[in-house]
């Protein structure tokens, strides 16, 4: 390798390592922090713990509060994913498969949903959920989350459905398979990659969502884990070791899950931006 080439490679490696360290060090410090006492944490926030204390972790894992939060979050996220996939793929199927008067207008109407975040309407949304009697009810989080994922999900699913071979439908139709039967027997089974993409994406959004559960759920028994973290922090204030252990336990499963599903998340993010 020539000298300027070597120099550039060195700079490149340095830049990448520094940025990687900036990303990783806070996460590792969080994880290690849970093994320290408050005093040790104060003396050395980033170093290895002098003694590996597992009490803080086992205490949290042994209690029911932590598992309650996780359970609530899982129920909400999986329901939101299931409902979004179901309703959005049905609607997307109609747009892809059937030409009818008004189809374009309805699609344009749904596209409005891509334009704004739900923070804009959070006050009337809160009233709406209250008037439906859904406060302190998981459905009060699930239904709005599903509704706000709808536009994005339909756009991705429709373009995938349109690419499925037309001959398949014609053949099935001749054999007496109707539109509804075709959807369940062919369209859905053939669309697992895009369903996984949309599903993972909706899951991440729902799992991490804070504002909506904050507004909808008051009873701490129904808290999702982001609400749980904030409550836990309010309880233990300066006992950072406990808080860090709690945070580690909540983000660890997510980080592992997301590492494996990264492919789908990235596919969801970059679709459209590449084709432009």
């Amino acid at each position: 390798m020539n000298r300027p080439g070597f120099f550039l490679a060195l700079v490149r490696a340095a830049v990448l390592s520094i940025v990687a360290a900036l990303v990783i060090v806070p996460l590792i410090a969080t994880f290690l922090g849970g093994f320290k006492s408050v005093g040790e944490l104060r003396a050395s926030p980033f170093g290895l713990p002098p003694v590996w204390r597992v009490e803080t972790y086992t205490e949290i894992l042994g209690g029911s509060v932590f598992w309650g939060y996780i359970q609530n979050s899982l129920i909400i996220s999986f329901s939101a994913v299931f409902l979004t996939l179901m309703l959005a793929s049905m609607a997307a199927y109609i747009f892809a498969q059937i030409r009818f008067f008004g189809s374009k207008y309805i699609q344009a109407y749904l596209l409005l949903g891509l334009m704004f975040p739900f923070a804009t309407a959070i006050v009337p949304l809160f009233l709406q959920i209250r008037d439906f009697g859904l406060l302190d009810n998981p459905l009060g989080v699930i239904l709005p989350q599903t509704a706000f994922s709808m536009a994005f999900a339909i756009v991705l699913l429709r373009s995938f459905f349109q690419q499925l071979p037309k001959e398949l439908f014609e053949a099935a139709y001749v054999d007496g398979c109707g539109y509804i039967g075709f959807f369940f027997r062919f369209t859905l089974p053939l669309s697992t990659p895009i369903l996984a993409t949309v599903g993972t994406f909706v899951f991440v959004q729902s799992w991490n969502n804070y504002l909506l559960p904050l507004v909808v759920i008051n009873d701490s028994a129904g808290y999702t884990w982001p609400l749980g973290i904030m409550r836990y922090r309010g309880e233990f204030m300066v006992e950072w070791n406990r808080i860090l252990a709690f945070v580690s336990l909540t983000i660890l499963p997510a980080l592992i899950f997301f590492t494996f599903t990264q492919k789908y998340i990235v596919a969801g993010l970059t679709r459209g931006s590449v084709k432009g």
Partner: protein, 310 residues
């Protein structure tokens, strides 16, 4: 656009519907479309319209909505210094996203877009903060910034000075928030750029090389122009994202010290929702909605000819 194309004879609407029914299309349509539409209308469109309506009333959320006060909510908003600060903070976030975050993401994307195993590992690391919940990121960084524990505590101890509480400092607290926002989202923009760079045709780069283009020339004359749409899209997401920052601010500063670090959404939450000033909160929502719309339409104009990559 319409049901008919080509040379088929035009049918009356009633006949069209009858034919759709015979083919089984009508049943599918009536079963499959309404659930999504109803849910979307109830929880997305209706609240937005309702916000526009409620913003002209003074209402605590209970009883009849009859206290029409015209544009008073908007006037109060226009005069409230905390709201000005939150707009200014959002602008700072936008500028930081455009001039720090996106260049950083672009540089990293150019360094690691080729598919090697080392690059894949870096990509995974850089993307990790994005999938982390905002709340978790905020709590982690509030530890790092804690004057008694994290980085600032360490630096202060090393220099032998009093601990410095950056999150309680009017001047620097928002800088800390910007740092966390960049940390959390640069990987997302990097991924958009990587996907676009990988789609740049290999033969174009080879052709440029044959024509004698160097490393930098290839970047500036081939790669960057070809991924311009991704950069624009990324800028659009950065702006819309900056407008709705909320979860990160709550664990870091909760809008403090003395209300200097509010974003538009945390302002909306604090002054509209938490105190059930329904009309006032709705007015903030409408302003935010308009800002998002303006962004979306200017993006469309900028990205014209691309068919709107949204």
């Amino acid at each position: 656009m319409t049901t008919m194309t080509g040379s088929r004879p035009t049918l009356s609407p009633a006949a069209r519907i009858a034919r759709m029914h015979k083919q089984g299309k009508l049943t599918a349509l009536l079963l499959f479309l309404p659930p999504a539409l109803v849910l979307f209308t109830l929880f997305v469109i209706w609240p937005i319209f309702n916000a526009a309506n409620l913003s002209f009333f003074k209402w605590s959320g209970y009883g009849a909505i009859d206290n029409f006060i015209g544009t008073q909510n908007y006037q109060r908003l226009a005069k409230h210094s905390v709201f000005h600060q939150s707009l200014w903070n959002s602008l700072k976030l936008i500028l930081a996203s455009l001039f720090i975050q996106i260049p950083l993401a672009l540089t990293l994307a150019l360094l690691i877009y080729k598919k090697t195993s080392a690059n894949t590992a870096f990509r995974l690391i850089f993307f990790a903060p994005y999938i982390l919940a905002e709340i978790a990121s905020g709590v982690i960084w509030s530890f790092i910034f804690d004057g008694d524990f994290g980085v600032s505590g360490q630096i202060a101890a090393a220099l032998g000075i009093d601990p410095f509480y950056i999150l309680a400092d009017r001047q620097f607290a928002f800088l800390a928030i910007i740092t966390v926002v960049v940390w959390k989202y640069f990987g997302y923009h990097m991924m958009i750029f990587i996907a676009a760079l990988q789609a740049v045709p290999e033969d174009l780069l080879e052709a440029a090389e044959i024509d004698g283009a160097g490393r930098w020339q290839k970047v500036f004359y081939v790669e960057l122009p070809l991924i311009m749409h991704a950069i624009k899209l990324s800028a659009f997401f950065a702006i819309v994202g900056a407008l709705q920052v909320f979860d990160i601010i709550i664990p870091l500063t909760n809008g403090g010290p003395s209300n200097s670090t509010h974003s538009i959404v945390s302002y909306l939450y604090t002054y509209g929702l938490a105190q059930l000033n329904v009309g006032y909160g709705a007015a903030v929502g409408v302003v935010l909605f308009i800002l998002c719309m303006v962004t979306a339409f200017s993006y469309r104009r900028l990205a014209m000819g691309k068919g709107g990559a949204l």
